[in-house]
Amino acid sequence: MAASGNRNEASAGGAPSLIGSSGDSLREAFGKALVDLARNRPEVVVLDADIAGGTGVHHFRKAYPERFYQCGIAEQNMMAVAGGMAATGLVPFVTTFAVFCLRAIEQARLSIAYCRRNVKIVASHPGLDVGPDGASAQALEDLAAFRAIPGMVVVSPADPLEMAQATAAIMNYRGPVYMRTGRSPARRVLGDDYRFELGRGRVLRDGSDVTLVACGVEVARALDAAQLLDAQGISARVVNMATIKPIDTELLVRCAEETGCIVTAEDHNIFGGLGSAVAEALVQTSPCPMEFVGVQDVFGESGEPDELAEKYGLTGIFIADAAQTAIKRKIAR
């Protein structure tokens, strides 16, 4: 990224040693990576609102108790306190559930983003992936809301390996970042040679008939969809778009031109998130038929993450169906 900081050389190669075990949730991967990465970065502090075990920063608390600040159940104060701490040169990681980041979004807007503070907001429990806690805890609006704040970088990694690399990258980037982790065990979908780069999407599987663009837990499901489509004789390209803002327009334009249609997939409302970001990027130069897989502007409910993904249309089969629709629209043009 053009605006990124001066320590990027440390981000790509230095994959933290603790991370990457398959089956780790993204929050665990984040929490473990943070311990590794903060070892030689004394300016990194963590702020928690009484859910360290839920966000993964209990690892940090154990490793560096003197750098861990318990803020109590008071997210608005926590968010603006982080802005103030950053004003003194520290690099605060503010951690809570995604839905409580929404609660404190005005503090993130004024005391962090408008002040251009070097604060990292790391949100666990995004989307329907939250599961049984139900709709009150399932943030389906956070990508839209944080994406609309000027200067805010928005990231949603796909698997434990990428989570660790993204944690390194946002630590090295100078400026405000909102990053989604995840609650449920995450599938490893990326190979050991994968390299996350802030602001860049990655083609995980090549294809020529349609491009599936996904972020977070939906990347694994997009890969499932590509397999289903393959069995139907359709060649689907899969792009992991882990940085939602700034979005990789160059890659999207190439995919639109080479495959002629796009399906986006996200564990988020279809309004304002990844799908909207992709559409905004393409409509200016390379409009093409697009389909949006996501939650259809409704609230979720209690249930296991997989059950909810099935009920609300987020699994591979729905992505594959959307791809069929997009391809039909492409041919009809």
């Binding site: 502090v45 600040y69 803020c71 109590g72 008071a74 608005q76 104060n77 968010m79 603006a80 306190v81 982080a82 802005g83 103030g84 701490m85 950053a86 004003a87 003194t88 040169g89 520290l90 005005e106 503090q107 004024l110 005391s111 408008y114 002040c115 251009r116």
Partner: protein, 282 residues
């Protein structure tokens, strides 16, 4: 220069800025004039040449709408070029309608959404202590601002972390946008609330420099907990037709004759009044 003289000039400049901007909040810019004058002339000890020194004392105007007074005091202690005041609330100029860190390095955090400056100041105090920097942090709160829940989140937090390098001042002018505090949402018993939250509480007349000096001295000596100075003030202080009248809280457009009357109340030399009105004096 005598503190009283500076405070008087701060009031003149604040009202002049609001007049030329065609909008701005006069009432809440007048009530903290002595407090701000004390902070910038005596307490903070800021060096304009080293304004970004890591060990500088910090001040946050959490009641950001009172910024005409902040800009005015900055101008009268040499932190701000006098000509800058003419740009208040104007496009392509530096002095925003609410404080912004952008081009005014002595503004420590952007404010204007009540409650946030308090939390940010707490974060600054904590960040300084974390890095064993001995500097102090001051934050000015409005009284209506105390109705924000975030204030009480912050009050708990600062006491929990024993932030004795933090001093809050409440500009207790008893009025807010629409009416008296007591009619909008009761704040009393105010001293007891802060005391119960674990703060050292000092109550003073916020227009009396003797009491102000003593209170800030006591705050500096207080160990193990943050201090709040409850400064009883008069909204619109110094201007006969504004004092104690909530109508002058909100953003208003001052008429030329209103500015002239206010300048006379502030003992402005007759020979200068025209210059304040036409903008040849700042």
């Amino acid at each position: 220069m005598e503190l009283k003289t500076i405070a008087c000039r701060v009031r003149r400049s604040a009202l002049q800025m609001i007049y030329h901007a065609g909008s701005g909040h006069p009432g809440g810019s007048l009530s903290p004039a002595e407090i701000l004058t004390w902070l910038y002339a005596r307490e903070l000890g800021l060096d304009p040449a080293r304004i970004d020194a890591p060990d500088r004392n910090r001040f946050v105007l959490s009641k950001g709408h009172g910024c005409p007074a902040l800009y005015a005091v900055a101008r009268h202690v040499g932190l701000l070029d006098p000509g800058q005041l003419s740009g208040f609330r104007k496009i392509d100029r530096d002095l925003q309608g609410h404080p912004n860190i952008g081009t005014t390095p002595w503004v420590e955090t952007s404010t204007g959404s009540l409650g946030q400056g308090f939390s940010a100041a707490i974060g600054i105090a904590l960040g300084l202590r974390h890095q064993q920097i001995a500097a102090r942090t001051y934050v000015l709160l409005g009284d209506g601002e105390l109705q924000e829940g975030e204030i009480w989140e912050g009050a708990m937090f600062a006491a929990h972390y024993h932030l004795d390098n933090l001093c809050a001042i409440i500009d207790y002018n008893k009025m807010q946008s629409d009416d008296l505090n007591a009619n909008i949402m009761m704040l009393e018993p105010l001293r007891e609330k802060w005391s119960a939250f674990g703060w050292q509480v000092i109550e003073i007349d916020g227009h009396d420099f003797g009491q102000i000096e003593k209170a800030f001295g006591e705050a500096r000596e207080t160990r193990g907990k943050p201090t709040v100075i409850v400064a009883n003030t008069i909204k619109g202080q110094g201007i006969s037709y504004m004092a104690g009248n909530p109508l002058w809280h909100g953003s208003v457009k001052l008429k030329p004759e209103e500015l002239v009357r206010a300048l006379r109340d502030l003992q402005t030399p007759e020979i200068d009044i025209e210059g304040y009105v036409n903008g040849s004096i700042w």
